[in-house]
Symmetry: C2
Subunit: 396 residues, 2 copies
């Protein structure tokens, strides 16, 4: 049997790619994971989630084990609406869709809005999973460079104007992580946020705002684009993966109702009622503001430990951005192809993500790497950076 | 802002449809649900799942709350492989993909194999959610009639030969529920199973075998198509929704590795580690054969109660198939449009699913309805059929 010929042409193309993150799932236990964008194990509320699952089944018996049985499913949406309101976004029930984490949210939006004729704009660099998802639908990807103030809206404006003049298709949407960006840690400054929304109106595109890290600020969380959006152009994607637990897979999309109901159509039964109702039971019984404050404090401390270690152990020509929140520090190692050094780093017992994976055109990312201060504890962070410092010093 | 123009053309078409099951989610508490294809609440092991969640977190702490943290994720696959082997299917680790229920499995297969040029063959009638899913990808659907022995393979053979002769596209795959079919309750007889696999070879198509009900036999479970498949043409889709709990959303695809890795590519992070590892902890500590035997006994009893009530309360010209397993009884009410009677039935406090929803060409299904004996208890079943008997007697 010829397996190949059962796949449509566009699927054949998608299948030729190798998932960049395959090696990351296979790191040995003792490796210091400066690659992992996961919360620190000690900061995951395992015991509280256990209690929530107990409470849930004691109170509801079999209800949460049916498709739509638990009254807490509606409750979870209300709890999320309340959190959105705290960040300046007042949205109605039919303007929110709960998803299996931010990834399902991004996939649903892509699936509903993209075909092979569509164009998507992304930051360069950007979240690698999102880049993979978009490429499953279209190969027409526009990239916009990032500097320390986030996406360069002037460059984007020029690209849009040029495309319009040349009669090229304008982007259907821009995918952006304006706050504590993955992988650069940068935050889009207020003037550029305003500019971006103006561009969306002028060139008639939508904005997919990924705010997975927005609540993990070291000082103050900036206002999301969605909170400034008066025309319904922004889909806001949020998640509890970074602030509660990724394995619970709770995310959401907030946007105008007409889009939300379209996304819902394609989501169908891809819900996970047990995890959702357990999460609702957890959220009901936690002082979330207090939890956030302690997470912010913990990650700030870990970040500064990492930055301090970089200053101490990394040789002169290496530079990085100092983030104001989130999980990541973006490092430039001039003249070095970081993907070639990974194997050596792993053999020394420390991991990072080579920068190229975050670029549509991978050649642009060879000199960069992403460090995460989220998963490893402070002692490991110091040790890991020391090892990487030795490695890079030896070749510079 | 013009929302419409952001959607690709094929998506606009898909969005014009109304989900047929929308009313089902909104049934009042006191309604006797002969519409629901859910397990009976008393048969859902809520207390054991609570214990499993407790055990999981006691033993693994935060591990199952990360993306890929729990060793039980690999364990779940092994448990599923062992169950498949019991049904005559020996599959390797890379030949199984765990999904969020059968629906995600069907969606992944459709997404990977279909585009608008592709043709899909389905039984008529068939599972409505699958029909909806396929129509999100293509409108080229071939339907094959069912009789009391399942899909009519002779009719299918003639359709295939005619398409081939006319130079029409042959189906990429056939979607079939050969055992205790939804909605008809019928089971494909062995000779037709053999014929079907021969047709797949002759006309070079794949078979998506949905076996969600296969273990719920009243006497003996027939051999799945997959167990007879020597050429790798069958994707076997299974689920724990009917035998454990639908809200846990655990299903799987078993098939040759080249297809499984393609489906996995599009699945990406759409996993639900907490539910999966909880399910693994549950399965480790349950005597599943014993559980199955008691479920089979319970559903057989409920089925016979329903059949007996039909004989007692439904007027003469009405007919039905007597199933040998599963959840459903398919009823023909000659000369009556069952969708017109639904509102009256609901006002009497009993629900069913009008037959038309299970047909690609809905006109073919007006005289039918699907009754489920799974969710309601025996007392409710008798009361519900009595009410429906009154209703139909009054108009015949």
């Amino acid at each position: 049997m010829n397996v190949e010929h059962f796949f449509p042409d566009n699927i054949k193309v998608a299948l030729q790619k190798t998932p960049p993150g395959a090696w990351m799932a296979k790191l040995p236990e003792e490796c210091i994971r400066l690659s992992s964008g996961y919360p620190e194990p000690a900061l995951v509320p395992a015991e509280e989630i256990k209690k929530a699952a107990d409470l849930l089944i004691e109170e509801e018996q079999d209800l949460p084990l049916h498709y739509l049985g638990s009254p807490r499913l509606a409750g979870l949406k209300k709890l999320i609406q309340a959190r959105l309101e705290k960040r300046g976004m007042k949205v109605q029930e039919d303007e929110v869709l709960i998803t299996a984490g931010a990834c399902q949210a991004i996939d649903l939006i892509a699936r509903t809005l993209l075909d092979e004729k569509a164009v998507v704009a992304v930051e360069s660099p950007t979240y690698m999973e999102a880049l993979e998802i978009f490429q499953n639908y279209t190969n027409q990807i526009i990239t916009i460079p990032i500097d320390e103030h986030g996406l360069q809206t002037d460059v984007f404006a020029a690209q849009l104007a040029e495309r319009k003049q040349s009669g090229l298709t304008l982007p259907n949407f821009l995918y952006t992580i304006p706050t504590f960006q993955n992988p650069t840690g940068t935050t889009l400054v207020p003037a550029r946020r305003k500019h971006l929304l103006e561009l969306a109106d002028e060139f008639d595109f939508l904005i997919l705002e990924d705010d997975a890290y927005g609540e993990l600020s070291f000082n103050e969380s900036p206002q999301p684009l969605k909170a400034m959006d008066t025309n319904g152009r922004v889909f806001y994607v949020g998640s509890l993966s970074k602030v509660v637990a990724p394995g619970m897979r709770i995310g959401w999309i907030a946007g105008i109702a007409q889009f939300i109901s379209a996304f819902e159509w394609f989501k169908k039964d891809l819900d996970h009622p047990f995890a959702q109702s357990t999460m609702a039971a957890y959220l009901e019984n936690v002082d979330f503001e207090k939890r956030l404050a302690s997470l912010q404090k913990a990650y700030r401390k870990k970040c500064y430990t990492l930055i301090h270690s970089l200053e101490q152990y990394f040789p002169e020509p290496i530079t990085w951005y100092v983030p104001e929140g989130g999980y990541f520090v973006w490092v430039k190692i001039p003249g070095v192809d970081t993907s070639h050094m990974l194997e050596q780093a792993l053999s020394m017992g420390v991991s990072y993500v080579p920068g190229k994976y975050f670029f549509f055109n991978q050649q642009e990312g060879t000199e960069f790497l992403r460090l995460s201060f989220s998963y490893a504890d402070e002692e490991e962070i110091v040790k890991g950076i020391q090892k990487l410092g030795q490695l890079f010093s030896s070749i510079m």
